[in-house]
């Protein structure tokens, strides 16, 4: 538990720095850090209770996108910006590296499954973002269509 808090604090710092790297406005530094630690917190919680990486990645992406869509309007910025900064801890970078490393070592039998894991994790992340973003888009569309009272 303590270790999870430590990891989330690190994710906060990491995503705040990502905001600096991508030239984000100063008022967005804290929200970027927050969405990063939120994503990792949800990921770790799901890992603790269910232990399924795809589910945890999906849930992390959902949390990051929800936060981004809910706050983007207040900051008057495109939600994508916040998603990009917050999604970093959830991106299956380690899995991608493991795959390439196995390939370079010539361990093809190992590389196949690892590549599949990377792909499935990336897809879980993609669908997490997609689901929430589409829901918000549909809501905006319906609100625009409703005749004014």
């Amino acid at each position: 538990m303590l270790r999870d808090v430590y990891l989330c604090a690190l994710a906060f710092l990491g995503c705040l720095l990502v905001a600096v790297l991508y030239q984000s406005e100063k008022r967005l530094l804290i929200p970027a850090g927050f969405s990063g630690s939120l994503g990792l917190a949800v990921y770790l919680t799901f890992m603790r209770f269910w232990g399924i990486a795809t589910l945890a990645t999906f849930a992390g992406a959902v949390a990051v996108t929800l936060y981004a869509e809910l706050t983007a309007r207040r900051f008057r910025i495109p939600a994508t910006i916040l998603i990009i900064m917050g999604i970093f801890p959830v991106v299956p970078g380690a899995a991608a590296y493991d795959t390439v490393m196995a390939l370079v070592r010539g361990r093809y039998k190992e590389a196949g499954p690892r590549g599949l894991v990377t792909l499935v994790l990336a897809m879980s992340m993609a669908f997490g973002i997609l689901l929430v973003a589409s829901a918000f888009r549909a809501a905006r569309f319906l609100r625009a269509r409703r005749p004014p009272r």
Partner: protein
């Protein structure tokens, strides 16, 4: 604003957005909104590497094409161009005013290069810690991350090929890590490597690829997905090759 001028403003808006790492949908939609603000009909088509915009007004039409090769993520620019285009519907600017505003936005750089280099190093360090690294691994990752950031930018003027840039940077990072592995035999190379690689992940491309594909911009979604896969592949391949030769991994 004349038709030619409006087309140029719309093109400039699209160029700034695309260069700064916006999704295709936003690039096209914003260009069309700029045209609509001046009572013209705009038809915009964008790809990750270029923009086409046709502006129709008063029975005349004009098309401009622009190739966009350089890209560097800049979220401030995206937010400011977004605000600019929304403001146009409230208050129409003249051609001179609009271009002056856009030129000012183009120059927006909030943080000096050294600070961004430092932050890219620190990102590597933080992710090394997340992947079970200790203080030593974190410090080495900070150094490696900064070196990779600097190396990619130093190479840029000499190489026309982004992929080669990433491959060579990966090799440079690998060479650095070999040196550190000799100096600190107890170092957990895995957390350092994953930390340094994480920072270079084209997270912008991946997220944009998803958003593009979702929006129905299949072509851009696919090409951006391929782009990010190739970049990850090139970087890690360079890195893994050197580490493997050096007998560390």
């Amino acid at each position: 604003m004349e038709l030619e001028e409006l087309a140029k403003v719309a093109q400039r808006v699209g160029e700034l957005l695309l260069k700064s790492g916006a999704e295709i949908y936003r690039v096209e939609d914003t260009m069309q909104r700029v045209c609509a603000a001046y009572g013209a009909h705009g038809n915009a088509f964008a790809l990750p590497t270029g923009i086409f915009v046709t502006v129709e007004s008063g029975g005349r039409a004009m098309t401009l094409t622009l190739r966009v090769l350089e890209r560097e993520t800049n979220f401030t620019r995206i937010a400011q161009v977004n605000e600019f285009s929304r403001g146009l519907s409230r208050q129409r600017l003249t051609y001179g005013e609009a271009m002056a505003r856009l030129d000012a936005i183009a120059l927006a750089r909030l943080y000096p290069p050294w600070l961004r280099m430092l932050s890219s190093g620190l990102i590597s360090g933080v992710f090394a810690l997340i992947f079970d690294g200790g203080p030593a691994e974190g410090a080495v990752a900070v150094f490696t991350g900064m070196a990779v950031f600097a190396f990619i930018r130093l190479l840029r003027p000499f190489l026309a090929n982004l992929l080669l840039e990433y491959f060579l940077s990966g090799m440079a990072a690998g060479a650095l890590l070999l040196v550190f592995a000799r100096l600190l035999p107890a170092m957990n190379t895995y957390s350092v490597v994953v930390g340094s690689v994480m920072m270079q992940l084209p997270g912008v491309s991946i997220t944009n690829a998803i958003r593009d594909g979702m929006q129905g911009d299949i072509l851009s979604g696919l090409s951006r997905f391929l782009e990010s896969a190739l970049f990850i592949g090139a970087l890690t391949c360079g890195l893994a090759l050197v580490m493997h030769w050096g007998g560390v991994a």
